[in-house]
């Protein structure tokens, strides 16, 4: 919430860097205009915010930056609708509105000492990147880290500039795959769930954190289960259409659960308790 005014008043932030991740996805780095907001805006990996282009509207984006790297917030935007298209038109120096942070987060305290298996697909890597960089910045707090990341083509992989850093991190393995390669792709070709099956990360003292297209989630869950991951050891973050982000506008409920308040992070065990309406 902004310091003055009501729940729906955004903080103003200036875009100070735009990274073209893929042909349809950009990552924006924004810095809050006023010092007190920069100080006050603290968040956890997995939380989200409402970002607005004034005159076009607001849309929901997860924070993809890690709170360990302060002074700015980052969010990745796949061009799909009106707000996302307007955001893609913005360049450095332009102003956006940001409300948040909202929602729950990946339980990074509880995850301490555990082995982490990240399983991301496409733009679904955005929320995982926040937790991943958080854990890499506090590397001694966490066990071995496996990163599975896939996309349709090499050109659809986001955060490619960070792959070297992820590979080079201690006790960390990066497994990249694409559904279809191209002339320059020398890496793995195949879907993410198959790669998870092949590498077979151990479920012992481990937690899997997954986010991606529904089809990837659908086939990844059984693979993790076969490897011995219990439902409580698998986490994901849900995407639902939202407007307010604060439990008022009535848009993101699944049964009596509001994704904006009770989520977006759920364990698979929790999801099984909810109606299958997401």
């Amino acid at each position: 919430m902004s310091e003055t005014g009501h729940l729906y008043v955004p903080n103003l932030a200036v875009i100070d860097r735009v990274v073209e991740e893929t042909w349809d996805t950009k990552t924006f780095r924004a810095v809050f205009r006023d010092e007190p907001t920069r100080e006050r805006f603290s968040y956890h990996p997995g939380q989200f915010q409402e970002v607005s282009v004034f005159g076009v509207g607001e849309a929901t984006f997860c924070l993809t930056s890690s709170p360990t790297r302060s002074g700015f917030v980052e969010f990745s935007v796949k061009r799909a609708g009106a707000v996302t298209s307007a955001l893609h038109e913005l360049s450095e120096g332009e102003t956006v509105g940001i409300r948040g942070p909202y929602g729950n987060w990946f339980p990074h305290e509880e995850l301490k000492g555990k082995r982490l298996v990240f399983v991301g697909g496409g733009i679904g890597m955005a929320p995982l990147r926040s937790l991943l960089n958080f854990c890499l910045d506090r590397r001694e707090d966490y066990g071995h880290i496996d990163i599975f990341y896939g996309a349709r083509t090499p050109g659809d992989l986001c955060y490619t500039q960070e792959f070297d850093a992820w590979r080079a991190a201690p006790d960390t393995s990066l497994y990249l795959t694409v559904d279809r390669g191209d002339d320059r792709w020398t890496g793995k070709v195949g879907v993410v769930p198959a790669y998870v099956r092949e590498v077979a990360p151990s479920p012992a003292n481990a937690v899997a954190i997954t986010c991606g297209p529904p089809i990837m989630i659908k086939f990844t869950l059984p693979e993790l289960t076969k490897l011995g991951f219990a439902d409580e050891q698998i986490m994901t973050t849900l995407e639902m259409r939202m407007k307010c982000g604060v439990g008022k506008c009535g848009r993101c409920n699944i049964g009596h659960t509001y994704v904006c308040l009770d989520g977006p992070v759920f364990t698979y065990a929790q999801l099984r308790q909810l109606p299958s309406e997401y």
């Binding site: 008043v9 529904p214 439990g247 009596h256």
Partner: protein
Amino acid sequence: MRQDDLGAVILKKADLASWVRGLLGSYRVVAPVRDGDAPLRYRPLAAGEAMVLDGGRPLRAPKEHFIPQVEALLAFRGSGKALTVQPATTGESGTVILGVRPCDARALGRLDDVFLGRKDTDTLYEGRRKATHLVGLACAAPSWGCFCTSVGGSPAGTEGLDLLLTDLGDRYHVSLLSEAGRELMADTACEPPAESDAAAAQTQHAAAIDRMPVLFDAEAIGEKVEWDAPVWMRHARRCLACGACSFLCPTCHCFDIQDEVTADGGLRFRCWDTCQFGEFTRMAAGHNPRPTQVERLRQRVSHKFKYLVEEFGRMGCTGCGRCVEACPVNIDIRSVLCEIEGGER
């Protein structure tokens, strides 16, 4: 029904106009007014203007005075580093709403659960809510769609009201239900009710209750709602997705947030929205977790009778009957509920 803790007074109809005139000196007064051929509507009363207390239940609930159909949230000007934002404020003066139906007053408690509860307070709503006193009017003649008695209400219910008026012909029996209510009557010519007045009010209340037999056990609905039951398809197949049920509903509160560009900047506003619209849950990339009216009807009914009960312990329906009467294809929520409660799938 609650006992009148603070007692009751009699307000003669001959004194009604002077009472309202007195209120207008200190408050913004909102009351049912008939503008031309338009349906009765709660709107601010001008000095000397006539209200209509005996015209039946107004088409819209007074909810629009707490969640306006369209409400500016902020104004913005300029662009880039020069962009500035001016948040809206309520700046609400004291308001009295007259002729509030018991079902609609009760519904405001449900809106409170959402806008004052659920983590953060919506201060725009709160400002209006705190600045408003509610003067109820007992329903002597419930409308054909009414079913408040089936959802724990009463045509003479007092929940959320400061005063309750009961029309006794040439006079109103006025139950004083709060300190604020008593103050509203303080400066006006009232007399204590005779025994016959209190008896007449009670007789009228009982008669109105008798006109609305309890149709189903509302408490049992939440447990009996089935996800894949054919009841949803049976009713939803007719639905035109017009949203009238939600817009007229005193407890429906969903909204959208949109921007509008003006000559020198723009406005961000919120406006009523409904889970009955196809776009409601459709995401930018196209996925829609509620793709047809079947899922949307299930959402609306389950939200009111199951999800809100699980969340707040009370259902999101006060039986005002507006959705029943307004539906252009005669989807009757009472039938849906009877079928669910009766175990008909």
